[in-house]
Symmetry: D2
Subunit: 304 residues, 4 copies
Amino acid sequence: MQENDIKNIEKMREESKTETMRVVSPEMEKILYKKFPMLDHGFIRVIDYMGTDASIVQAARVSYGVGTKKKQEDRGLINYLMRHGHTTPFEMCEIKLHIKLPIFVMRHWIRHRTANVNEYSARYSVLSNEFYIPELDQIARQSEINKQGKSDIAMDQVKAREIINIIKEVSSDAYEKYAHMLNDMSLARELARTILPVSVYTEVYWKIDLHNLLHFLKLRADSHAQYEIRCYANKILDIVKAWVPFTYDAFVNYRQNAVSVSKKCIELNKRMLKGEKISQENSGLSKGEWMEFINAFELQDFVS
Amino acid sequence: MQENDIKNIEKMREESKTETMRVVSPEMEKILYKKFPMLDHGFIRVIDYMGTDASIVQAARVSYGVGTKKKQEDRGLINYLMRHGHTTPFEMCEIKLHIKLPIFVMRHWIRHRTANVNEYSARYSVLSNEFYIPELDQIARQSEINKQGKSDIAMDQVKAREIINIIKEVSSDAYEKYAHMLNDMSLARELARTILPVSVYTEVYWKIDLHNLLHFLKLRADSHAQYEIRCYANKILDIVKAWVPFTYDAFVNYRQNAVSVSKKCIELNKRMLKGEKISQENSGLSKGEWMEFINAFELQDFVS
Amino acid sequence: MQENDIKNIEKMREESKTETMRVVSPEMEKILYKKFPMLDHGFIRVIDYMGTDASIVQAARVSYGVGTKKKQEDRGLINYLMRHGHTTPFEMCEIKLHIKLPIFVMRHWIRHRTANVNEYSARYSVLSNEFYIPELDQIARQSEINKQGKSDIAMDQVKAREIINIIKEVSSDAYEKYAHMLNDMSLARELARTILPVSVYTEVYWKIDLHNLLHFLKLRADSHAQYEIRCYANKILDIVKAWVPFTYDAFVNYRQNAVSVSKKCIELNKRMLKGEKISQENSGLSKGEWMEFINAFELQDFVS
Amino acid sequence: MQENDIKNIEKMREESKTETMRVVSPEMEKILYKKFPMLDHGFIRVIDYMGTDASIVQAARVSYGVGTKKKQEDRGLINYLMRHGHTTPFEMCEIKLHIKLPIFVMRHWIRHRTANVNEYSARYSVLSNEFYIPELDQIARQSEINKQGKSDIAMDQVKAREIINIIKEVSSDAYEKYAHMLNDMSLARELARTILPVSVYTEVYWKIDLHNLLHFLKLRADSHAQYEIRCYANKILDIVKAWVPFTYDAFVNYRQNAVSVSKKCIELNKRMLKGEKISQENSGLSKGEWMEFINAFELQDFVS
């Protein structure tokens, strides 16, 4: 189905090069429909978009009676909206992506509910023999500290290869039997597919507004997100940069790299500025919160 | 602010006439940004849109592995999706409208939650002296049958004129005092505006996907909706017809003019087809349900 | 974790037997926390609920100024609301379920976006060795007519047993290797789980309002839904019957067993009532639409 | 309708005092259905609720396999969830409020879309003669700095009284004409109500999950929110404190009084800790951003 689909899309691309009165994002037009490979068999492709940075300014002007057409002031207004959490104007831009991804990644993805989704159905159609096999350098032990993550210490190469072989073996064995049950025993697709591992690839059309997309990126381009979905999120960040450059900068400065700090931490910081020596003991913070404080304020060199 | 805004939009229209790779709806392009007057001071204007009938077919193909590029089959597939309530492909199209409407209409409008909204803020800016004054032929008594509606019997002209004068008087008096409190007493806008009637006009940018728009139209273009919001809904129906003609036809045939009939009514209809005479008494239906049955099946000439 | 969790829940059940001022559904209290087995390893359990039929009537009264406390009239009002698609009062009831289900069923389930979800995480915790193995009588060929479904013709027993053995074999083999990679090679859980088939069981807390639950049931208790999710939907229907009996009856009569019929079909039906002989040829309907018309109106005995 | 409604609710309160297996919030039970007066004619009343702090812990345990039944550790986990933005477990609690409020406040309220709403309909029923008249000490000039707010400088008493008289006059005049058009001219309610100012009171049943309620409170209990909605938000904060005390504390510490600080500000703070003198000039921040930095870190005494 995919190749087929690509042909249709490329055909549509050529055919549809035409005039429009709508606002256009020049950098976005350059990458429209282009296939960005992801992991071993996946991809991301922009199918359509609505609006630009100017659309956000325009919507804000309706609400707040503010804004202007001068580029520099547009940037300033977008920074202001982002800093102050005036999120509704960002909902006025929309993007539609065609994504190919492993089912276990899709299961994280779908948790973002404010979006429109059409996924390839394994009840209607046959899944292809494509499974996610991690790169050697992605194979890692369970982290001891982070209950949900991988350890940073690379795994012994021999062991890692062994693991990859097991993963390959399970996948190909499952697919062989899937094909056998479909073709030789004409089992219903809806049952045959139940033996396929969650590493099998699926495809989805995913449409979401810019505000909710940024929320997705805040969570999924984060170091706590699983590596595989993080790859997709980082590529989408590049796409956002091409599409709405002012919004991208504002997001990176005021959301992605921002930290939320509690009143308590502000008080501690003031005590430090006054020259007081602060340690976990005299901070009144729990061990966990203390570590978070040090990291948020980057105080590694300032505290005992 | 409005005039200002319009100038900006018109400017944007000229400036932004450019090439795009995105799918384009030719009929929609013709009306883009055009101002369709509504009621006495309102309007609807299409600011942006995403997708066409082809986008719905494309999304359906991803899910169901069905569809084709042949126009006639596209229409057939869209009819099929509409008849069977496969609604997600219709979410793949999006529209953004700029609407000027009375606050009491906005209060109905905003009940549709799956949409993006930026409304003119009377805390930031001053409202203009524009209030909805009904046409003479819209003035009608309270209906006796329909607790929520107007009677069909026209109201005596003299009375109607009297009513219009009262409405005008209240509006202009309120605005005069609003302006007085703002200008002569420099009262905060957020308080001054509280004396303005709900007939005052506001403006909104409203963005919604096609599936949710059709749901809005099913309810608001309906005869039970208040006349004023119905005017807006009917105009949006024209816009949908220009934008996605196949979807428009499917909606009119299989949703807007469709009726939901219960098992009981199907049974009664079969008894009638067998030649039995049916009346409310032998139908097993309540009076209300019986009337609904007659209307749904248009049986006025068939039952006693 | 499950057993553990059950103990906690049962403990909570005993401990929390106490007085409340809130409206109570007596039949619901009887089944609260009870574990209804589903498929081979799954279950449904009601964890909490909010509201009763009376809450719907109460909310409608606020909106429409209608309603009463007399039981019979409550039923009438709920029937009226259901028939006329006044859905917001049904949103005033809420239910929280604890569900254990295969991942491929969860993937259908999660498509219902207006709900709250907490799912067991295979990044944090180890999945147990539980996979969905279909009953012998559920093994069936792919349907020729229904692209997405099973055929009704039972499959040859020998073949069916063979298929079940393949499914069992793939599952146990995958789990063995999953456990091996976790325990002997201490691979990160987030990677090890990628080899498990979508038939593996997961657990979820799922909270949804009654209106959206009924929409879920309309789609998932339908004959077109896959058998496995239909089992869960049918059990939830029983739960709804215990919880809000008036709403349950109204749903079954006016939604679940209702059909949506187009203007065209109403016209055809009138021609038949006038004695005209109708066939697909003179109906003006496409073959597909004609079949749907016959089925909706149950006209098998009336048309040539 | 209101009195009537209250009688029904009180009746329900007495009648419904019964046993339940559901988790109960003892402090919440004490205030259930109680009418908390708001502004001059409004109120807030808790109609129903679902879940307690324990429900959040329980849901988190399903997802993250974490948590415990020990009170102190419950508090710790809830703090952890709040600090790290793990918001889904908070969606597992639900509350239903009965609120009487001016329409202009309702217009802010309804912008929070993830909620269930049934509002009193002025098409069905007659509005009572109740309008919001501000207290003398709430009358203030437009702020020069804050485009959307009131000035802090109190307004001259004589002027303030004059303003209140204008507001009273407009309201009573509008209501008199509303009643006249309804009673003496039997104008349809849907038209008559259009002359009433947005200060008229309406009633609503509002149901929302705890996560979305906290988001509402973050925005509406904030000093930038208009005074009138802030009164309601602050009362709801008290209700949340009674309902889910651990969550309330976590919200106040880690959300309500927390600030989001950008990378740039963290860098500036480090330079200050190293003893450098920082001013707007050498900060690289815009004037606006600099002021926000000073306020966020409370650096008034530390910078030149």
